[in-house]
């Protein structure tokens, strides 16, 4: 699988996934740490990928979203944004709404 395919798989298979520098318990960058904290405050499980562990992943995820910076949050396959956007959404309550939204199934 190409790196893009691998990333797509991770993003599709995890409802909430944060691509960050370091891990939520040991962030390696202030912006990444902030986003991990925001997610932790919701007390829901989320996946995280440490881009520092792989240069391929670090470059690949930027290409995937055409977004030049880390961290990057994906919820249900969609790119939500980086630290700035997440902070604004967090403060307006929109991030909580996005995270906690029920999966809508069409029947």
């Amino acid at each position: 699988m190409s790196i893009q395919e691998q990333l797509k798989q991770v993003i599709d298979e995890n409802e909430i996934v944060l691509f960050m520098k370091g891990t939520p318990d040991f962030p390696q960058c202030g912006f990444s740490g902030k986003t991990a904290q925001m997610l932790q405050s919701f007390e829901i499980p989320f996946a995280s990928v440490d881009v520092l562990a792989s240069e391929e992943v670090r470059q690949g995820i930027k290409e995937y979203s055409s977004w030049p910076t880390i961290p990057q949050l994906y919820v249900r396959g969609e790119f939500v944004g980086g630290c700035d956007i997440m902070s604004e959404l967090y403060e307006s309550g929109e991030l909580a709404a996005i995270i906690k939204a029920e999966k809508t199934e069409s029947s």
């Binding site: 030049p68 910076t69 939500v80 944004g81 700035d84 956007i85």
Partner: protein, 77 residues
């Protein structure tokens, strides 16, 4: 050569329409840009930030280490 906040301000300004207000602060490593412009009308936050990243182009990959963006329309400011 270290990038200055003024340079980033110029680069962004050039890419937006004349009524845009651009203010950039930074220490040479981390920069904070506040941009008020009606170029952002009708645009999601992601689209607004993408607009700025596009204006800066390659500089985002090479020269700018970290850039925080605050993007507002004149009505939101």
């Amino acid at each position: 050569m270290t990038i200055t906040a003024d340079q980033i301000e110029q680069w962004i300004r050039v890419g937006l329409s004349e009524q845009a207000q651009v203010s950039v602060e930074g220490d040479g490593r981390h920069f904070f840009a506040t941009i008020v412009s009606d170029d952002f009308l009708g645009q999601s936050l992601i689209a607004r930030h993408q607009m700025i990243y596009k204006i800066l182009g390659d500089k985002m990959h090479a020269e700018i280490h970290a850039l925080s963006l605050k993007t507002l329309t004149t009505a939101e400011a």
